[in-house]
Amino acid sequence: MLSSLYASFSLRRNAVDAFRVNVIHARQQVRSPVTNIARTSFFHVKRSNIWLAAVTKQNVNAAMVFEFLYKMCDVMAAYFGKISEENIKNNFVLIYELLDEILDFGYPQNSETGALKTFITQQGIKSQTKEEQSQITSQVTGQIGWRREGIKYRRNELFLDVLESVNLLMSPQGQVLSAHVSGRVVMKSYLSGMPECKFGMNDKIVIEKQGKGTADETGKSGKQSIAIDDCTFHQCVRLSKFDSERSISFIPPDGEFELMRYRTTKDIILPFRVIPLVREVGRTKLEVKVVIKSNFKPSLLAQKIEVRIPTPLNTSGVQVICMKGKAKYKASENAIVWKIKRMAGMKESQISAEIELLPTNDKKKWARPPISMNFEVPFAPSGLKVRYLKVFEPKLNYSDHDVIKWVRYIGRSGIYETRC
């Protein structure tokens, strides 16, 4: 394991050693991401086997430190891909350069990769002309630090992905204990100039506001609108405008970025329902039957369906019968994994298994972890719809109609669990 360069950079080495001994090599599971050793606080995040640690003796903004560590991972990933020991060793000079740029005396500075890449590259630093230099500095410090001037495309095109992960915790009796959708709108923009964009979706608050003007429309569209509990935006979005008018307007960064995140809890379409039945037959046998039902339009297809049924630690053998797909007992994971490639809406499928148990004298009962499920569906379980994305670029000669736009909806399972 490699302690991050970042820590060794600004602090005495013994602090790094202390961290290594006390946290990385501690026998115990990590009990807190913040550790205080000898009046020094260590923040850490882990990416595969790399620990990134930040160190301080002051009362710093802890949320900012973690946000920065994540951001640092993003920046590194954007430069050299996966954060691995090898990649870090291969790029340590680059990492020093990046750190020097995005962190000054503990204060995070501009960390937008778009801007950074204009003057820090993997091939070393480009020499720039005077105009370029001033352009760089004004971009790094400017109001629109995430986009440079003078971008040109022959074809103006944008892609919108509505990516949702639907989370569910259901009781064995089928009662929804908690359910929410956390969604992201990811945009890929290939637009010339400094385009002004406006994004609209079926947000209940907006629709109701508009509905007041045209009374007859309220009934119709009100049904299809969704209540968004909360949303957060990329820094390009004008927050004060959203706060006052609830309109989402921005000048997008070039390329891919996450425009917004949102969360909904009401009227969620739960794509699958899992009905478990676990019966203990004596002390050495369990009978498990699980039914899954798909609950969406029959014309749509769900993909990559996987149901994971946990088995006790003292399982000695498993026999499975399933109507559809393939099921296997994986002893190393203590679970039966049932995979189905595709399943249409309004269908039902079933698996039954007999689990043989070794007799144990362990008094503690099996904790019965929940049955979890993975899937992907081609719609947004929250019901979110993109209504429009308008593009205005007054200085260049293309209009909203000339921009080619693509919208795609993908719903995935987040933590989708049913207790058994």
């Binding site: 003796k57 009362n59 501009n110």
Partner: protein
């Protein structure tokens, strides 16, 4: 191209080879060599020998090479200061480079080199860079001022950099503004008195404008800075809140949390009747919930903060219980925090759901988590009465699982449920008794024994059960021993006939065979009670117990308010004020919430607002009601002592002492067993270890006082020691103390008692800034480790040269005491007369002139009632406390004493004391240029005259 090859060279002549390569003519080779050097440096090898060679590479047009060399310099300049000078020229030159990136790089690096000689050369380039035409250079220079200040604060002030920095707040570029704010905030933290961040409505407006335009990090700096601002009224607070709320939708969690901090703080000023107040409350909930979908580490930070917010304003998240349900794959630290918040949010409305969840958690794997879940079920029972029955049955189900630690935890909480709802759930006792054998933890054993003793009359074989414990009496922990003793005595009082033998046995075990003074004390007191007056014994031992309160482990209100001001920072993660984990003076400025402006909701009570205290615009520390209550109770219970506690004596008066100690612990109803919930009954001087020959306890000195006479002439009046920090608040450490002044030196006389079961070591003490700059003159010296039940007395010399901050009330002193277990905080009020200096006698002429000179509105009048002294005695008493009588007149049968005194900080107070023979009420007029001290001087008069 990869850099990993640089890490692999480990040959012997490495340094030598590198040296050759560094001096190569080829640029590429040079660069490669520097990279190798940096790689060696990174893995911790010492490459400082190459210093001159690396510095030689500095003069280059190649920006990449330059950066590498700078990196090397930052690391090694400190160890080679003389050589570092070689680099200065290049730095200075680079600061004038036409390329703004190079200018910024140079000034950035120079600031990181902590060598005095370099910093001297830094000033001129820095001055230029602060006014550079390029914003990139300016924003870098702004941070550089903070760096320089860290190295040499005086230099920064002398060079006028602070003013330039302040100007940058009005810069046209938002990032420059943000960095200037960050730098100023950092500098201001080490200079709390200076008016550096002179925030006014205009500058606030500028910051709010920049807030909309700068980077996410800049927004954090600005919001953190805004949080320190004190709006002048509720309208200003509201308008700032309105402009900050949009930040709640930011994708960066730190921006959101800092915005929450500003809002939580300014909300204090808004009236609850205001529509906007309700709107704001509603707006706060969704972003807080959203924070829970962040990465686990941030979730943890968010949850620790939500824990504070829920305690401060439970209404915000009261409907959001479900989001705190634990997910199977949450990291353990997230699980534990969620559980904590769930209990805080539990109410009648959601209790069914909560219980179902908790039951689920109690079957999980992680032992800590399961224990906490079981404990949580008990807390729900105590908190929501309607749910008690279901909680109890859930706990019984859990006991049936026979999982050892689950059973033990359940028994501990069931004991608390019995205390809260007496005579309701005793039917379950039989089930509990079945599990007696599996209990191996002291806390669980003690709880079970308590239950058996308390309900002895309903348990047929109570005597057998208790007898079985008695067999291994000496191997039990003190907690269990004490509980067993009490339980058997209870049993005897309930069933005297068949248990006489048992009680004899336990009493002799406790009194004759035990080394533990606590246990012996309690044994003796029971013995005596039982043998002299069994009826009284019954009344005492079987007295009705006070009900336990429903909310436990809430953060103490003053600390909570302070922590709210630190939302998002480490302090809010640790739930400790910064002074507890930050070394030195930086960042330990005590922060407090702004006062509510609407008068209808004033939290001030007349008792806590001293007369003449500045009102309104001053930050108002909400008094720690818990603390005050505790203190008052202690004062009431403690015997009125007036002898000097320093007069150490080792005379033993066993019986009396035991009586004193034992009684207290009896009345406290076994605080050891139920300490955590039994608030308000302080374990008073229960553990006076007469055996150790330590100085006598307060109970004894009370008796002594009858013989040793009143007062001494050697020093000022000394108040009896009061308990400042009850043991239950400080993991077993009890601190009582008083202040003395003897021959010119002030000291804090402390009595530390270890009531825990483990040895305490590594004591240290620290004061927060206070009105008169009181500070320890020497470290707290406890020479030997403090073993359980041991008490030490320490006299801590104080001086008055510490940093000054006006406290509310004026004589408030906040103290932190550390030991090997934890850091504890308490606050105490010191009597002002310890600050009266020996040369406080004013010349007569001077007195007259001064008296006239001080405006009449500064005069304060007080009445001292019920003081039976005559003029001479009063004057003498006051004199020994350094209040000097300058002149005496007799006017119309009244004695007029003109007196003066001087405080350690040089403030003179002039007094006129009118005494009418035969009338026990004295009239006191005080004149002082700082009228806020008058109230406290009056109190000092009263204390001195009446004791």
């Amino acid at each position: 191209m990869t850099d990993s090859k640089y890490f692999t060279t480990t040959k012997k002549g490495e340094i030598f080879e590198l040296k050759a390569e560094l001096n190569s003519d080829k640029k590429e080779k040079k660069k490669e060599a520097v990279k190798k050097v940096i790689a060696s440096m990174t893995v911790g090898k010492d490459v400082s020998a190459l210093f001159p060679d690396v510095v030689n590479c500095m003069q280059t047009d190649n920006l990449e090479l330059k950066k590498l060399v700078y990196l090397y310099l930052m690391n090694y300049a400190k160890s080679q200061p003389d050589m570092a000078i070689m680099a200065v020229n290049t730095f200075v030159k680079d600061c004038e480079d036409p390329n703004p990136l190079i200018r910024a790089l140079a000034v950035r690096t120079m600031g990181c080199i902590r060598v005095d000689k370099i910093t001297e050369y830094l000033c001129e380039p820095l001055r230029k860079c602060l006014k550079d035409e390029d914003p990139y250079v300016r924003k870098t220079a702004a941070v550089c001022v903070a760096k320089l200040h860290d190295i040499n604060a005086q230099l920064v002030e002398d060079q006028g950099f602070l003013d330039t920095l302040k100007d940058l707040i009005s810069d046209s570029n938002p990032m420059v503004v943000a960095n200037a704010v960050a730098a100023l905030s950092e500098i201001a933290e080490s200079h709390p008195s200076s008016n550096l961040l002179d925030l006014n409505p205009q500058s606030i407006n500028k910051l709010l404008t920049a807030l909309n335009e700068c980077t996410e990090w800049g927004q954090i700096f600005i919001l953190d800075c805004l949080a320190n601002y004190m709006p002048k009224d509720d309208r200003e607070a509201q308008s700032i809140c309105e402009r900050v709320t949009p930040r709640l939708s930011h994708a960066n969690s730190a921006v959101v949390l800092s915005a929450v901090k500003v809002l939580m703080k300014f909300m204090e000023m808004l009236s609850k009747d205001l529509d906007y107040y309700g709107t704001l409350l509603k707006k706060l909930a969704p972003p807080l919930v959203t924070l829970l979908s962040a990465e686990p580490e941030l979730q943890y930070v968010a949850l620790r903060n939500i824990n504070l917010i829920v305690q401060k304003r439970p209404e915000i998240l009261k409907h959001e219980m479900k989001v705190f349900f634990v997910k199977y794959n949450d990291p353990i630290y997230v699980k534990l925090e969620k559980l904590d918040i769930m209990i805080r949010l539990a109410s009648q409305a959601n209790i069914a759901q909560v219980l179902a969840e908790l039951k689920e958690y109690a079957t999980e794997v992680d032992v800590d988590f399961v224990r906490k879940a079981v404990r949580a079920i008990g807390r729900c029972a105590i908190k929501v009465e309607q749910s008690a029955e279901r909680c109890v049955s859930t706990l019984l189900d859990l006991i049936q699982t026979k999982v050892n630690y689950v059973v033990q935890e359940a028994i501990v909480v069931i004991k608390d449920i019995f205390r809260k709802y007496p005579n309701k759930y005793e039917s379950v006792i039989a089930t509990l008794c079945e599990n007696l054998d599996s209990l191996d933890e002291p806390e669980a054993r003690a709880a079970m024994i308590w239950i058996v003793g308390e309900y002895a009359e309903r348990i047929d074989n109570a005597d057998e059960l208790l007898e079985s414990f008695l067999e291994g009496f000496h191997d039990e922990s003190t907690q269990v021993q004490l509980q067993l003793l009490t339980a058997i005595v209870k049993l005897f009082l309930k069933k005297p006939t068949e248990t006489q033998e048992l009680v004899q046995q336990v009493l002799s075990l406790a009194t004759q065979d035990s080394d533990n003074p606590d246990l012996r004390d309690r044994g003796y007191i029971y013995w005596r009670l039982l043998s002299t007056d069994p009826v009284a014994a019954k009344e005492v031992v079987l007295a009705e117990k006070p009900l336990i309160s429903e909310e436990t482990d809430l953060i103490e209100p003053t600390l909570l308010d302070e922590l709210i001001c630190y939302i998002g920072t480490l302090a809010s993660v640790y739930h400790k004020p910064p002074s507890a984990f930050v070394e030195g003076g930086r960042g330990v400025v005590h922060k407090s919430l702004p006062p509510r402006t609407a008068s209808s909701e004033s939290t001030e009570s007349p008792e806590t607002a001293p007369a003449g205290a500045p009102s309104g615009d001053q930050p108002d520390v909400i008094p720690a009601q818990g603390d005050l209550l505790g203190d008052l109770l202690n004062l009431d219970l403690g015997p009125p002592v007036s002898g000097p506690p320093l007069a150490a004596s080792s005379i033993q008066m066993g019986a009396v002492d035991l009586l004193g100690g034992g009684l207290d612990s009896l009345m406290g109803d076994e605080p050891e067993g139920i300490g955590d919930t039994n608030f308000g009954v302080p374990p008073a001087a229960a553990a006076a270890p007469a055996r150790l020959g330590a100085p006598i306890s307060s109970g004894l000195s009370d008796l002594f006082d009858l013989t040793s006479g009143v007062g001494t002439l050697s020093g000022s009046y000394v108040a009896p020691k009061a308990v400042w920090l009850p043991a239950m608040k400080a993991k077993g450490l009890e601190i009582s103390g008083t202040f003395t002044r003897q021959v010119g030196s002030i000291s804090m006389d402390l009595q530390l008692t270890n009531k825990a079961l483990q040895v305490m070591t590594d004591f240290a003490i620290q004061f927060n800034r206070n009105s008169f700059g009181l500070a320890p003159a020497a470290p707290l010296q406890v020479h030997a480790p403090l073993s359980p039940n041991q008490t030490v007395e320490i006299s801590l010399p104080l001086n008055t040269v510490g940093s000054v901050m006006k406290m509310e009330p004026l004589n408030n002193l906040q103290v932190a005491v550390k030991n090997n277990i934890d850091v504890f905080y308490f606050s105490t009020l010191y009597p002002l007369h310890v600050l009266f200096v020996e040369d406080g006698k004013m010349d007569r002429q001077m007195f007259l002139a001064t008296w006239k000179d001080i405006p009449n509105e500064n005069e304060a009048q007080f009445q001292i009632r019920d003081c039976p002294l005559n003029t001479e005695a009063a004057s003498g008493k006051l004199q020994s406390s350094n209040i000097f009588t300058i002149a005496k007149r007799n006017v119309e049968g009244q004695d007029m004493l003109y007196q003066s005194l001087k405080l350690t900080n040089g403030i003179w107070v002039l007094a006129e004391l009118r005494i009418q023979p035969g009338n026990p009420s004295f009239m006191l007029s005080l004149k002082c240029r700082a009228p806020e001290v008058s109230q406290h001087v009056y109190q000092a008069y009263e204390t001195i005259l009446k004791n």
